[in-house]
Symmetry: C2
Subunit: 192 residues, 2 copies
DNA sequence: ACACACATGTAATTGGTTACATGATTTC
DNA sequence: GAAATCATGTAACCAATTACATGTGTGT
């Protein structure tokens, strides 16, 4: 196994709860980590096969009660070892590309109105995200009281919330800088 | 042109300054936007050719004074139009994958020491990044006074700095939560 | 003489998304 | 009977990284 992060996501999800299908894993991702991680079926199903071939997970044909065909998997001892090794290794660093910032960086080439629209759009998205994260926080706390994983989930949530708030604060200041007729005028004002 | 962001990065860089080579563009990326964007030569050189074929940039063989072979490009009117269209379009949203957070999410599977190491590593990286960004901020302001692009560059910088600070604040609280012998004990304490 | 910065490019590989294809079960 | 959800998978495509390949000019 090289660096396919999808594999580790699957191992992690199966380490938390066994006997999940590809479909289940996708759902779990959506409802718990989607604010910092996504997976597509096109990635999940082939990876499940690979992990089986490598002996890191094993399939378990569930009680086939009429239901649509369904394949469940659980993590093996070797899978757990592999997961732990990955978890303990440093994360690779290079910051992700940020299209919003790139557009802002070149923002002078745009009419003022388009710039403001861009930032207001960013603000809107972050406001919605904030509401969603706070809701998730409430849900997690009420439905998982006592779950030993909860403290870690809450930490990822508080991380997300802290960053969304930083984005919202920043966008206020960005609007106050870009809002006036032109930036040069603002700078001139500040010097007085 | 479909969604190749590298193309727009090149157009943007050439819109700010003409007659740059692939090498120049790479350098510019490194020294100005590397905290939220990277490019490899393997991406830049083929994209330059494509942009020429599409008439969005044009090559200009520079005064070949012995120097190593060098190809400079400048943006065309059509290139400018294409850039502006892209700049005005909404950025695509899905949040990037965050390997640090994923490892934290599965953090219970790790011995306490490894967890703390993980967060301290994150803290270190962010402290270094903060210093680098603040230095960049100083540099930008002294070397580009009067540059009409400066306000936009400063906004991307203040965005980066705000987020790094949020990360540092968060990691303090994360350490204080995970630092004690085990999370359950902390929760019990808080209830008293 | 050596190292470093300048400079351009290609090939192999990876990691991932999207669209396509199929079909059963449950709920309204 | 229709729509939503459950469920699995493949094929085509794309964007990007890394390693490879090559060579010049400049400063020490």
């Amino acid at each position: 196994m090289t660096h396919n992060q999808t594999g580790f996501l699957i191992l992690g999800m199966l380490s938390i709860e066994s006997n999940r299908s590809g479909y289940d894993i996708r759902k779990a991702v959506e409802s718990s980590v989607s604010y910092f991680w996504q997976e597509s079926y096109g990635q999940i199903y082939p990876t499940l096969k690979r992990l089986v071939a490598e002996g890191l997970i094993e399939p378990r044909r569930p009680s086939t009660r009429g239901r649509p065909e369904r394949r469940e998997y659980s993590i093996t001892a070797r899978g757990r070892a592999s997961l732990q090794e990955w978890l303990a290794s440093p994360y690779r660093e290079d910051p992700p590309r940020n299209e919003f910032l790139l557009k802002l960086f070149f923002g002078r080439s745009l009419p003022r109105e388009a710039r403001l629209r861009h930032i207001r759009g960013f603000q809107d998205k972050n406001r919605h995200l904030l509401a969603a994260l706070e809701e998730l926080q409430r849900q997690a706390q009420t439905h998982n009281a006592g779950n030993p994983h909860l403290p870690f989930w809450m930490l990822t949530l508080s991380f997300g919330i802290a960053h969304v708030r930083a984005s919202l604060d920043w966008s206020e200041s960005a609007l106050s800088i870009l809002g006036p007729a032109n930036p040069a005028a603002v700078r001139a004002k500040k010097r007085k």
